[in-house]
Amino acid sequence: MTQDIGQIWVYLAASPLMGLTITLLAYQGAFRIYQRSGCNPLANPVLIAVTALVAFLGITGTAYETYFAGAQFVHFLLGPATVALAVPLYMQLKRVRAMLWPVLAGLLAGSLTAIGSAVLVGRLFGASETTQLSLAPKSVTTPIAMGIAERIGGIPSLTAVLVIVTGILGALGARWVFDAMRLRDPAIRGFAIGVASHGIGTARAFQVNEQSGAFAALAMGLNGALTALLVPFLARWMPL
């Protein structure tokens, strides 16, 4: 009997069904914890799900490649989801017309700062070249950041984790930074969060203030597109 279960396990562990199922289970469990915590940014669902999966795969001795054979079906949807970002971007465009110039100037300054400071600080403290390239797109939403990292010779999965940590840091620290600056305007607060810490920051901004959330979503979309344009060209010309 135990041998049968062992054999069944060996078969199932290698099938794509397993990778796909545990991904959905881990995420749903993590999301429930996030909601129970009152949407505390420290209880980020991606962080919890990834930690649980890494532990599970480590304990069962399953290789990442085996897991990914199933999880790739979820991963694939990042492409269409990136395309779908055009829809909220369009919906918010009208609200922003009144603030067009501050938005464009803030976007360009913020985008360059995010890329440049991440690479330079990493280099200053001795990060390897591949790690620096993986750091460059860290302020934009994961599907875009991973695509950029892949194009310029970084490590997409390392970038994915750096993006998530950046989002959590921004969501946690933004209020403190803005209060120290005595900045009240919810539109500017939201936009700066969106530029610096993409979707995780945006989710946080929506909980604080509707207008902040709308501007954060806009910033996330615009910065995704701009960073995708800037990083490959910067990477070509910035001596690493």
Binding site: Y27, L53, T82, V83, A84, V87, S157, T166, A174
Partner: protein, 119 residues
Amino acid sequence: MLSALTQLLIFQLAGEFVARSLALPIPGPVLGMLLLFFTLLLRQGPSTELQTSSQNLLQHLSLLFVPAGTGIMVHLHRVAAEWLPLLLSLLISTTVTLIVTALVMKLCQRNAGATGDAA
């Protein structure tokens, strides 16, 4: 749902095609997003179906990050070896980006003398 998903895939495919054929360094899905955005501008808005489906897909955007994030298990040694530059880079860069973006917007707004309802 089905026609909206097909539409998204067609735009992604078009983006991939343009990126490869012009040898652009931009990811295909990002170009697809820009193509869809300009199409929406021309058509003056998405269909109700595309809007609902996009909303549904983006509502669970975090789930789509999980398989890639789990890939960190392959890079644990790199994170362990470079945790200090990584942590400092993320911490400093995120804080500076928040400050610079907000300051530039504030200065620009003041210089333009803009009178938004956002006070």
